[in-house]
Subunit: 213 residues, 2 copies
């Protein structure tokens, strides 16, 4: 059995749930908020010294952290990870793009809008974060204008990694209006077998998001 430590509305955590559902693996979900220090208690730091979620724990106590590394491990031997080394490297390339050029802008803008006070000084960062978010989306739109998926010719873990925060970009004030190929790709993903949607933010976060945009 795999135990997932995660915060339900986090895209990084949802990636893991989505793939586990789609490959049909049993798992147990342990909810840990990442906005109130719950991921940095002594017990949690003993499991993941970087103090973040998601991470997974096996029955023998072994731990694996970093959402995209977890996706790679779960996907080994399934159709979600290409066998061909070049295609596998392309999938990883998009996953590193996601963590370096996409998530730090789109996910952080969303977090600031929904999970920080309306007068947080971090909100001064939003214009820059939104500008960089659109740069990442433009790179994705260009790829999706010529390809159905990010991983070779079928849906896979690079799509899951990029789906997680793209599908809720509007929570951070980043509109997908000018990205028709991205919107079509999101719709295709929602039709894949075993798909589960991102959980909605709770009422407090939803109210902050509504006030922010």
């Amino acid at each position: 059995m795999i135990t997932v430590y995660g915060f339900a509305p986090s895209g990084n955590c949802h990636k893991v749930r989505l793939l586990l559902e789609q490959v049909g693996r049993d798992y147990r979900w342990v909810e840990k908020r990442s906005d109130d220090g719950s991921t940095r208690t002594a017990e949690m730091l003993a499991k993941n010294p970087n103090g973040k979620v998601p991470f997974i724990e096996l029955d023998d106590g072994r731990v694996l952290a970093e959402s995209n590394a977890i996706l790679h491990w779960i996907a080994e031997g399934t159709s979600f990870l290409p066998v061909d080394p070049w295609q596998k490297a392309q999938a990883l390339s998009w996953m590193f793009f996601e963590q370096y050029s996409h998530e730090p802008y789109i996910a952080v803008a969303r977090f600031i809008c929904g999970w920080t006070p309306i007068d947080s000084p971090r909100r001064a960062d939003l214009p820059r974060l939104r500008e960089r978010s659109h740069q990442a989306l433009a790179v994705m739109e260009r790829h999706l204008s010529a390809h159905a998926w990010f991983t070779g010719d079928q849906y896979g873990i690079a799509d899951i990694a990029l789906f997680a925060y793209t599908c809720v970009a509007d929570h951070g004030g980043v509109s997908l209006e000018n990205y028709p190929a991205i919107r079509d790709w999101l719709a295709r993903i929602a039709q894949t077998p075993g798909f589960v949607p991102m959980p909605e933010p709770d009422a407090a976060a939803a109210a902050l998001i509504a006030q922010s945009n």
Copy 2:
């Protein structure tokens, strides 16, 4: 033949050179500065729409971007990438840690110190970047206090990924004085077969670094 497009003093680019040297693969290096727009010309954007280096190009024109994805591709079938899926996932976990929790602080502090004017407004970010750099180093120190390498029981691509900017952390004003296990690990890497050191910054960058710290 592999063509590497890279900026010599960039740690992300040096990763690729170091592994190519250590596995003994032939390659051609095309120098492209990343601080003057050379990576964002129309010709370069046609190859890598994300406008960054490093990326590699094969003789048939295929391109692979993102330093750690390139490492993974080059390392396939060599001792630098574990075969065991769990160990391979652990290597990837450290590589995603590097790109999300390490490089955006240690490499960016170094870039600001060496490659922006001494009166750049970006220098106001340095205290925060240095604080986060030390958080990443503390996670590495904890691991290296109990393990010789980041990839199972031998030197591999996770070590190369983390080596690149750790070995020049002091350029950004981030001292390794309090991390003896990290310093021992850097020394072990410098003794591995085929090792090539990070190129020194040019005179202009060296002068800015000296003024910054």
